[in-house]
Symmetry: C2
Subunit: 313 residues, 2 copies
Amino acid sequence: MKIALDAMGGDFAPQAAVDGAVLAAQQLAGKAQIVLIGQEEAVRPLLQQHGAAADSLAFIPATQVIAMGEHPAKAYQQKQDSSIAVGYKMLHAGEIDAFCSAGSTGAMLVGAMFSVKAVPGVLRPAIANFVPKLHGGYGIFLDVGANAECKPEMLEQFGELGSLYAQYVLGITTPKVGLMNLGEEEGKGTALLQAAHQLLKINPHIHFIGNIEGRDLFNDKADVIVCDGYTGNVMLKMAESIYDILAERHIVDPFFEKFNYEAFGGSPILGINDNAIIGHGVSTPTAICSMLLQGYQMAESGISDQIKATFKS
Amino acid sequence: MKIALDAMGGDFAPQAAVDGAVLAAQQLAGKAQIVLIGQEEAVRPLLQQHGAAADSLAFIPATQVIAMGEHPAKAYQQKQDSSIAVGYKMLHAGEIDAFCSAGSTGAMLVGAMFSVKAVPGVLRPAIANFVPKLHGGYGIFLDVGANAECKPEMLEQFGELGSLYAQYVLGITTPKVGLMNLGEEEGKGTALLQAAHQLLKINPHIHFIGNIEGRDLFNDKADVIVCDGYTGNVMLKMAESIYDILAERHIVDPFFEKFNYEAFGGSPILGINDNAIIGHGVSTPTAICSMLLQGYQMAESGISDQIKATFKS
C-alpha cells in the first residue's frame, strides 16, 4: 500500500512535511510505503538529513507548487506539474492508495473533482472533521466548508457519507446520525433543515436520531453530525479557538487536549472515488504523521468502495 | 423607573424569581423599583419570607401562567391574564420601563410582537447574546434564535441593532460590526452572506469591519457579530456546553467564568418598541438579578428610542 504526501503543502513545508513523513514511515513500516511528492531540490536534501530513516520513502518529483493565495481552479489547471496535481494524477491512476496535503484546501477540492471525481450519485463531496466525545472516542461532523450553500438532499447524503466513515474507519457499529438544528423538535429550523430532517428520517442506510443542538457536539447523542458547510466551519473554527485559548491560558485537560487537530492531522474529503485528506495549514510533523496514518486507515478500510457501493444502490 | 419581572418564569420559579428580584431591588434602591408579576398565592408568601427586604417591591397579580411546552402564539392569546401577557400590557401602557422573564422564549417573542410591536422599519426583531472578549469586556452576537431563516436585509438590520446596543448599553464608542462567515474574503459564504456583506458595507449607521470566522468570536476583531438565528443559536449553545464541561471538570479560569450566563442573566430582544429581556430557563436568583439590572441599564440608556430614531431616518 502506498500513502502519498504533498511535500510542498503547509506553512512549514517542506521541512514539517518531510519530518512528518519520516515519522509515519516508521509507524507504517511493513504495512505501507510513504510517497513524497514535491520539488526535488527542496525535498531531497531534507530526506538526506534523515539518513537511513528516510530510505523506505519513495520520492516523486513535481516541479510546481500551488500557493495558498492562488485561485484554486485556475492554479490547478495551469500547474499540471504541481505537487497537488501530480498527487491526484497518481491517485487516479491507482499508483497510490491515498493522497494527503496540508496545502490549499481549495486546490485539494478542485483536484479531487477534476481527477478522481465525485462518486456517481453523490451530489457534492463534503469535508468531515473530528470531534472528541466526553465519554471517550470521537465523532465526526460534516460538511465543514466545502459547501456553504446546501440543498436538503446534500445534507441527507452528508449523513450517509459520515455514517459510512464512522462505521468503516472509526469502527462505530451503528453510528447515530444527528442533524444540527436550533431545537430538538421535528419542525424546528430553516426550510432546508426541515426538509433535510424528513429525508434523513426515511433514509434506510443510516440510524437517524433526529435534531441535535449546539450543546450536543461533544456528548454521546450523535456520532455523526450533519450540517451545512457554513455552520460546520463556524463550529470547527470556534472549537479550534477554544483549544488555542485554553493552551494560551496554560489550562491542561485530557478532554480538551483531544481538540488538538494534530491527533488526526487532517479532514477527509468524503464522496470522491478515492482517499484524500486535507491537512491544517499550520501542520506540524506530528500532524502530518497523523494525517498519513489516517490516510492508511482509510485505504485499509476500503471506505471509498463502501461509499461507491452505497450510492450505486 | 420600574423594572418588571415575570415571577412565574423559569424552571425554579417562583422561588428563584422572587429571590432574584429582592437582590435586584437592593442594588437598584433609589434608582428603580422592581415590579413582580405573578400568581398572588404563589408569590406573596415568598415575598413575606424576605420581610422588610421585600417592602420596596411592587406586586401585580396575574392569575395565569404560560408553561414552557405550550404553543407560544396560542398560549399568549388564550391566557390574557398570564404573567407574560400582563407584563407586556403594562410595558405597552408605559406603566413599566422594562419587562424580564425566564419563561417561554416563544411566548416572550410573540408577546413582544403582539403588544409593543416591532419598531417601524425593523423587518424582524432579533435576540442578542453576550460574548466575553479575551482582552476584557463583552461583545454581542445576534440573532441567536428568533429567526432561523434570514434575508440579507435582516442581517443588515441585526448589525444596526447590535451596534446601537453595544454603543448605548455596553458603552462601546464605535462598535466594530463583523459578519460571521466561513472565510474573511469578501466573496465568501452563501448567497445570503454575500448579499448581507454588501449591505452591511454601505450601511452608514455602522462601522462594518467585514467577514469574521468562528475563531474570532472571543477576540477583538468585532464587538457586534451578525449571523442568522440558526448559526447564532448553535454558537450560543456550543459556548454554553464548553462552560458546562469546564465546570464539570473543575477547571476554574477567570476568562471562561465570564461565559456564565448569570453575569447578564438574559438576552435582550432588539428591534421592538420597548425593553424586553428573555432569561435562561434554569435561571438562578443571581441570573434573575442580573437580568433585572440589565433591564434597568437598557431603560436608562434609552436604547429603544435610539433604535426608533435610527430606523425612522
